[in-house]
């Protein structure tokens, strides 16, 4: 009889979590019913010789932006009816609504390149609404370069995502900042959210770690051995150089911005033991938040309220996840076992992503994976399973994507995925790349 009881329990284990874990869909907006959208190639309507290449870049980038958005089921181009589409008169909605495309939405338009100027016209139509299908009609004009073709595609994709995704801005123009040792030293690098345009930002020829961009996108706070330390340093993206930030003594690391950009939390061992401190954005008005002996690192603000800070503490032995109020009171422990590090708060303030070795054992502790935890209910879900060490999750501004570092390809690289763990994509390939941080918009 006991054997059957176990089997029934197993059956329930399949059924119950399916309903209980809808919180991940709500919190992230991913995993619900996806919109079937068709994206035929934009026709070239005027060509001064450059149009073909620009058109290709535009089409590729638009298609990948919409595929990566997390809310669309982009219909494969092999299902599209034949015939180039350049404008509304070319579209026959019934052919798009019928199988095989069975599309609910269609984005189409044309690309024109005339005397060095690139102009793109784009429409978004509701396939099922024959009387009034138009949702969007947009026109973009920039100088004709490949980067601008890419930029216009990002902009148009973001417009579509904003409209059909329920008012949450798309991330196609957002940026990622990370650490790479490609130049021989660990420096801060930047790239587009899809891995394009990777470029070096700092040239300090020292060891730099944990970059965090400010909410207004003008500065990057990070930790570096450039002046001994390591110290919290501030890089200005506008001025392209370091700007002043106080040196506190001891080991200073893992800076984190509040979502209004007014305060920075970080870990400092100026007192002889690493504790969490908060200062204003210039490093003044220092205030200490934690008191227990043991390593306290990696603070993360609740970006919705700025009223809570999550952080990692080794006060009981292995590092565990804790949450406290931003004044240091009401600290509570969240994880009960294993080795937990690198908390990252979702933009809506409901979820915490972090890296966890749940079953830490003697000898080799095993791989760490990215987990997402619902802060209110303390329910969690595991997002990565494929082996390798996965660490440093960072949320996208739309709350639907997570970027992280992983060794699953053999070397340490930056990967990105939807917040339910699907569509895992490698973004970097050369050198050793780590500690990614997603911009705020």
């Amino acid at each position: 009889m006991k054997r059957y009881a176990v089997l029934w329990l197993l059956l329930l284990a399949f059924v119950l979590p399916g309903v209980a874990q809808d919180w991940i869909r709500t919190g992230t907006g991913v995993g619900g019913e996806k919109i079937r959208i068709a994206v035929p190639e934009f026709k070239v309507s005027a060509d001064d010789g450059q149009a073909a290449a620009l058109d290709k870049t535009f089409n590729d980038v638009l298609f990948s932006d919409l595929s990566a958005a997390g809310i669309f089921d982009v219909v494969s181009r092999s299902f599209y009816p034949l015939g180039a589409i350049g404008g509304p008169t070319d579209v026959r909605l019934d052919t798009w609504a019928a199988p095989p495309p069975k599309a609910a939405m269609i984005a189409f338009g044309n690309v024109a390149s005339t005397s060095g100027n690139l102009q793109v016209q784009g429409w978004l139509f509701d396939v099922k609404n024959a009387q009034g299908p138009q949702i969007l009609a947009k026109q973009y004009r920039e100088t004709a370069t490949d980067d601008n073709a890419r930029l216009i595609a990002h902009r148009f994709a973001d417009e579509i995502i904003f409209r059909l995704g329920g008012g949450i801005a798309g991330i196609a123009e957002s940026k990622l900042y990370f650490i790479s040792n490609r130049s021989g030293n660990k420096e801060i690098w930047g790239m587009d959210y899809d891995g394009a345009g990777q470029h070096q930002i700092t040239h300090l020829r020292s060891i730099s770690l944990s970059p965090r961009v400010s909410p207004d996108g003008t500065r990057i706070a990070f930790s570096s051995y450039f002046k001994g330390g390591p110290n919290i340093m501030m890089w200005s993206l506008d001025l392209n150089r370091l700007v002043k930030f106080p040196e506190f003594g001891g080991t200073n690391l893992s800076p984190a911005w509040s979502s209004d950009g007014s305060r920075i939390a970080f870990s400092s061992s100026r007192s002889g033991d690493p504790e969490i401190y908060v200062s204003d954005q210039n490093g003044n008005n220092l205030k200490r938040l934690t008191v227990y002996h043991g390593p306290d690192v990696s603070p993360a603000w609740n970006p919705k309220t700025n009223g809570q800070i999550a952080w990692i503490s080794g006060r009981t032995g292995l590092p565990q996840l804790y949450v406290m109020d931003s004044d240091g009171t009401n600290s509570q422990r969240i994880t009960d076992q294993g080795y937990a590090v690198s908390p990252a708060w979702s933009p809506n303030g409901q979820l915490l992503a972090f890296a966890w070795i749940r079953h830490y054992g003697p000898g080799s502790p095993g791989n760490s994976d990215i987990y997402v935890l619902d802060v209110a209910s303390h329910q969690w879900i595991q997002l990565t399973h494929d082996g390798g060490r996965n660490d440093f999750p960072s949320w996208s501004p739309d709350g639907r994507h997570i970027v992280y570092q992983s060794t699953r390809s053999g070397t340490e690289q930056i990967w990105s995925m939807l917040a339910d763990g699907s569509q895992q994509t490698q973004l970097t390939f050369t050198g050793s790349n780590s500690q990614p941080n997603w911009s705020w918009k």
Partner: protein, 262 residues
Amino acid sequence: MTVSPASSDSLALEDKVNRSWLKWTLLVLALTAALAVGGCKKKAAPPAPPAAPPPPQPKATLSVNPESIQRGQSATLTWSTQDATSISIDGIGTVQASGSQSVSPTASTNYHLTAQGPGGSADATARLTVTEPPPPPKAAAPPEPSEEELFAANMKDIYFDYDKYDLRPGDQAAVDTDAAFLKAHPSIKFTIEGHCDERGSTDYNLALGDNRANAARDALVRAGVSASQIKVISYGKEKPFCTESNESCWQQNRRDHFVYGR
């Protein structure tokens, strides 16, 4: 007995046989003579060979480099010969036609090379002078080892268990030795570097390394070392001592490393 024609035949036959034997002998003799003549003729036929030119006189050279050495040093003897079949050097023995050899005699030596060949013989000599080495300089006392060398020789790094920053009981002896040395050299200023193994997260390891370095610092201060001598820095897992992924390398990296200077 009637004389039958047979007997006359047999007589004739005998005769024939006798005659054929004679024929054969004559033939053989003739052949032999012909052969002898021919052979002799062959020997005699080729014209007399021209008189062989007289064999060339062998040549020999011998040199030594350098020509003067101090006792205990060595020099190289180099020789070359031509048209010689037997070459020898006094004191060395039979040698190749050309070559060189390192020699290290204790006294000045005349090296004499003899080259013999069909055309005659040749000689060559080389003199190697051996001088007394200058008297060795008075052995200076070995230099006083520097503070840095003393430090490196005496200070023992402290090792840690995984994810721990408290000193193991066995490390107390190391702390005591280190403290004793540091108290004896109060002018030495040094840095404690905290390190971690490659597993685990970058940021957490930086903090853990800091705790490790401070644990050693606190232990030394408790043992009487002046805090002003000590600087502390954590490198987390950023500067490992080895990069293999096995326990022995990991243990190597989980340490406080003492470095002279600040």
